[in-house]
């Protein structure tokens, strides 16, 4: 019987559907920033990653963020880089946007290169309804929410 605590697990060949559910505004709490850090690390594991933004989380993708007055690191540009990490699915909840008077024009652009389509550049952000997102959640293996 081993006295050791197991600290490594064999995950070779595992590909799961990971959903990162973002419900908080980009500033005011640290959840948005730390969720993004989790997403970036997870990209190295070649899983099937979807990001969903709902409730105040929709503000994370809003254009024109300027944090100078609050002296905080502006991490808005990091979302734009997600395409380079093979994260091509950023879904924003339609009802959350409408409740906040936002349209897709208010959001930043995130582009990825589709390897199955001759590396054509495509938008990663899509507006989805609450129902569509609920159905999507049913399909996930892991949901990490903050």
């Amino acid at each position: 019987m081993s006295d050791e605590i197991q600290t490594e697990y064999d995950t070779a060949g595992v590909e799961k559907k990971f959903m990162f559910l973002n419900r908080k505004a980009p500033y005011g709490t640290i959840y948005a920033l730390e969720m993004l850090e989790t997403v970036l690390i997870s990209a190295a594991f070649d899983q099937d990653v979807t990001l969903v933004f709902m409730d105040d989380g929709v503000y994370q993708l809003k254009k024109g963020c300027d944090t100078k007055a609050v002296n905080m690191k502006n991490f808005s540009a990091t979302y734009k880089a997600l395409g380079d990490y093979d994260i091509s699915k950023l879904f924003v909840e339609k009802e959350s946007m409408e409740a906040r008077g936002l349209t897709q024009d208010d959001l930043i652009e995130v582009i990825y290169e589709d390897e199955d389509d001759d590396w054509a550049e495509k938008p990663a952000i899509h507006v989805k309804s609450r129902d569509e997102i609920a159905k999507l959640m049913e399909e996930q293996d892991v949901i990490i929410s903050a």
Partner: protein
């Protein structure tokens, strides 16, 4: 069933850590495996050896350390979240280790279920 546990809040301020502890204990007693407990966001404070609760109340930091020792559970504190909150080796309680977010992704992949305890 193989479980991964994610704790997003610190001890006492939120009940998350207590609930996670009771869940973990119950799961093990029912014969399930808990592959890892990962502490993120303010959850890293559960590893603070300097925590000194009132003497007639539970010591959450110690409860986790004892549980880990008893059932050989891997308790991992996120390095990045820990650093910004001052949870480093010099204040790390017994039973915990500091590592990266990859450990959370790994458990999402290796476990049958990842259960989150937060706000």
């Amino acid at each position: 069933m193989k479980y991964g546990i994610l704790i997003n809040e610190g001890p006492f301020t939120h009940q998350a850590s207590d609930t996670a502890y009771h869940f973990t204990r119950a799961a093990i007693e029912k014969g399930h495996q808990v592959l890892r407990v990962f502490f993120y966001h303010d959850g890293v404070y559960n590893a603070n050896a300097l925590s000194e609760p009132q003497s007639d109340d539970r010591n959450i930091v110690k409860l986790w350390g004892d549980l880990a020792k008893e059932h050989k559970i891997d308790l991992v504190v996120c390095v990045a979240a820990g650093l910004r909150r001052g949870i480093k080796d010099q204040v790390l309680a017994e039973g915990f280790r500091i590592s990266g977010l990859g450990q959370l992704t790994e458990i999402g992949m290796a476990a049958d279920r990842l259960i989150t305890f937060g706000d």
